[in-house]
């Protein structure tokens, strides 16, 4: 039955995530929280691998989450669940291509949808930053999320310094900022090993 649940969760993700791969992140975070299949840290690792392997990021993440939950059948079911709504919606839109683009209500709905999708990714960004760079944790618990402090340190300085350096490299340094994300992922992995980021 876990496969049916997996299909349904990813069907919803494919249907409501607007704006490509990264837009599925808030949904995947929500699935992890409500089912307990994987933690937020697991999801971060999956995202890193998805960015560094060929294929669309959204599909890579769906495959990875599915594999984590139920092996190869899980990977297959999660991916098919995510693309099913796309196939249905696009086949319908293709049949009415001209009227779809000209319909004022479609444009009006997307006027609100686009900033909402960005807001959801922004919120995921906030909780990722807190989770990885500080000891503060936001966890789903009842209707209002619970904020707690875990670990010995409130601010993790090595992580914060690396984040600041990467922010500058990926945005402000000409030529370097145009490099593929995989370069920065490898760099961060090397720094993590050199300075024992996990304390291991």
């Amino acid at each position: 039955m876990i496969l049916l649940r997996l299909y349904w969760e990813f069907f919803k993700t494919g249907l409501f995530a607007v704006g490509g791969g990264m837009a599925t992140l808030p949904f995947l975070k929500n699935i992890g929280e409500t089912t307990g299949w994987y933690t937020y840290a697991d999801l971060m690792n999956m995202l890193a691998v998805s960015e560094s392997t060929p294929g669309p990021i959204g599909i890579n993440m769906a495959t990875y989450v599915g594999f984590t939950v139920a092996g190869v059948p899980g990977a297959l079911v999660a991916t098919l669940g995510e693309v099913t709504p796309s196939i249905i919606v696009i086949l319908i839109v293709a049949a009415f291509l001209r009227s779809f683009r000209a319909n004022p209500w479609v444009e009006r709905a997307f006027y609100g949808l686009r900033p909402a999708s960005t807001g959801l990714i922004g919120a995921a960004c906030v909780s990722v930053f807190l989770e990885v760079l500080t000891g503060i944790r936001i966890a789903g618990d009842g209707f209002v999320n619970r904020v707690s402090v875990s670990g010995e340190h409130l601010l993790l300085w090595p992580q914060l310094l690396l984040a600041a350096a990467l922010l500058v490299l990926t945005n402000a340094v000409p030529k370097v900022r145009d490099l593929h994300p995989i370069v920065f992922i490898v760099l961060a992995a090397a720094v993590g090993i050199a300075f024992r980021f996990a304390g291991a």
Partner: protein
Amino acid sequence: MTRERLQILRDLFVAFAKMGAITFGGGMAMLPILQREVVYLRHWATEEELLDYYAIGQCTPGIIAVNTSTFVGQKQAGIPGGIAATLGMVFPSLVFISIIAGLISNFADIPAVRNAFAGIQVCVCVLIFNATVKLLKKSVIDRRTAVIFSLVLAGSVVVNLSPVWFVLVSACAGAALKALEVRAVGTERDGQ
């Protein structure tokens, strides 16, 4: 099904599997590869058609690369074509990720691997932040979209609710705001 039709479906599957296997990153990274394979090499669509598909793929639900594949496939061979192209696009991901995920779970307990992933997580933070900023410039275009963005961001941090609800409410709010604006402009014009 005739042999020719099966041949078309096979071509679609193989072509899109190839594109899935050589694209890193999806979304925008995919467009140049789609242009080369679909427009110049195979003549499955014109440049303008592809850009139309791409634009619609961005503003319909789901993964942009998948939406565009479905579009091109259905134009070639109807509904089976759309499905064949999409399955081709996701096929390499299924193979690569299943292999890598299997390998990583075997090495997850090695200290160096754990330290490496702790470093990688920091990089992922920055990559998500950069993606948010890029999307922000495209989606927050005036005061009202800024309000929707802020409310959804704050609401989603504070309240434990499925993202589905934020998406549905915002689509309705956007439609209502735009419709009111159109009416207001209409009455203004009538008054003059």
